[in-house]
């Protein structure tokens, strides 16, 4: 009992700290890391609520896949954010959030629901297990399940359409990609492995060692 309470407070403090970190940190990359921490703490809370499958999905899907996507986009777009300038919203936003928090707490804790102050219904073995969730998904909640899969498909197609390049590469990007780095001979192209010398490399090796000597040693060394 005490153990559960300790676990709850650790997880709850972790979740709230992570949430505050997401909002407060200036660097988007650190915000993403704070969100990952928040998600893992929330998964611990789910476990305390006997939602094992939801907790596992939270860690794997959210803290795993979605966060990797975020990290990639933050690394691609990059850039911190200049400090928030003044404005009505910057002042009213936190006030609104505080008012909302107070209102929600009053609404939920003062609702007079008997269950709110209880520890929940009697625990049935297997509650929240993948078997139960899967059975519900394929019987009672079949339509939401199918609609969710269609939604995922639409989102995947939409993301590809949104993020693709419109007319091939941008000119400067193209120039950047075409820079060929000087590479020592016989370091790993397939043509070289087959003993064929690519013609483009001759200009490079001409200033280095003679080509003929390299070819000879390459054949002697073999595989």
């Amino acid at each position: 009992m005490v153990f559960t309470a300790i676990l709850f407070f650790i997880a709850a403090i972790g979740a709230i700290t992570g949430a505050i970190g997401v909002v407060m940190l200036r660097n988007p990359f650190y915000s993403v890391l704070a969100l990952a921490f928040h998600l893992v703490s929330l998964a611990a809370l789910f476990l305390l609520l006997r939602a094992e499958f939801v907790a596992a999905a939270q860690v794997i899907v959210y803290a795993g896949a979605v966060m990797v996507l975020y990290v990639f986009v933050v690394a691609y777009v990059g850039g911190g954010e200049q400090l928030t300038s003044g404005g009505v919203l910057r002042v009213l936003g936190p006030l609104f959030a505080l008012a909302l928090a107070i209102e929600l707490c009053i609404a939920m804790l003062g609702a007079g629901l008997k269950g709110v102050s209880s520890k929940g219904a009697a625990f049935v073995p297997g509650f929240g297990s993948p078997a139960h969730i899967g059975r519900l998904f394929l019987t009672t909640y079949l339509y939401p399940f199918e609609i969710a899969s269609i939604l995922l498909l639409a989102a995947a197609v939409g993301a590809v359409v949104l993020a693709r390049r419109r007319r091939g590469l941008e000119p400067d990007e193209e120039a950047g990609l075409r820079v060929s780095v000087a590479r020592p001979a016989y370091t790993g192209t397939m043509a070289e492995a087959a003993g064929i010398r690519p013609r483009g490399d001759e200009s490079f090796t001409a200033e280095g060692e003679p080509v003929t000597e390299r070819t000879g040693s390459g054949h002697e060394g073999g595989w």
Binding site: A12, L35, L45, A51, Y76, V116, S117
Partner: protein
């Protein structure tokens, strides 16, 4: 722990997310704060599922996670598209649709 504690945590997380959506200007961080709001709602759904001893709330939470994943993919696609067009990545500057 009583269910009310979980509900209080979910309310706090939701409100932190709502405040973040209003205050932050980077669309990436706005998306992160949206995730916070969805997660707060998720926590209360799972808590109510525990309260009633009924797994429907957990099903709902899983569907919310699917919706969140969709929102993230589309939102990040938009951010990448904005970045490609060399537009400022700032929700205050992106006001072309404003009437």
């Amino acid at each position: 722990m009583a269910i009310g504690w979980y509900l209080a945590v979910s309310a706090i997380v939701f409100c932190i997310g709502a405040g973040g959506v209003l205050v932050r200007r980077n669309p990436l961080v706005v998306l992160l704060c949206l995730e916070l709001m969805l997660n707060g709602a998720n926590l209360s759904l799972v808590a109510f599922a525990r309260m009633w001893g009924n797994e429907s709330g957990q099903i709902f939470a899983l569907i919310v996670m699917v919706v969140a994943a969709c929102e993230v993919t589309v939102g990040l696609g938009l951010v990448v598209a904005i970045y490609r067009r060399r537009l400022p990545i700032d929700v205050d500057e992106l006001n072309e649709l404003q009437g």
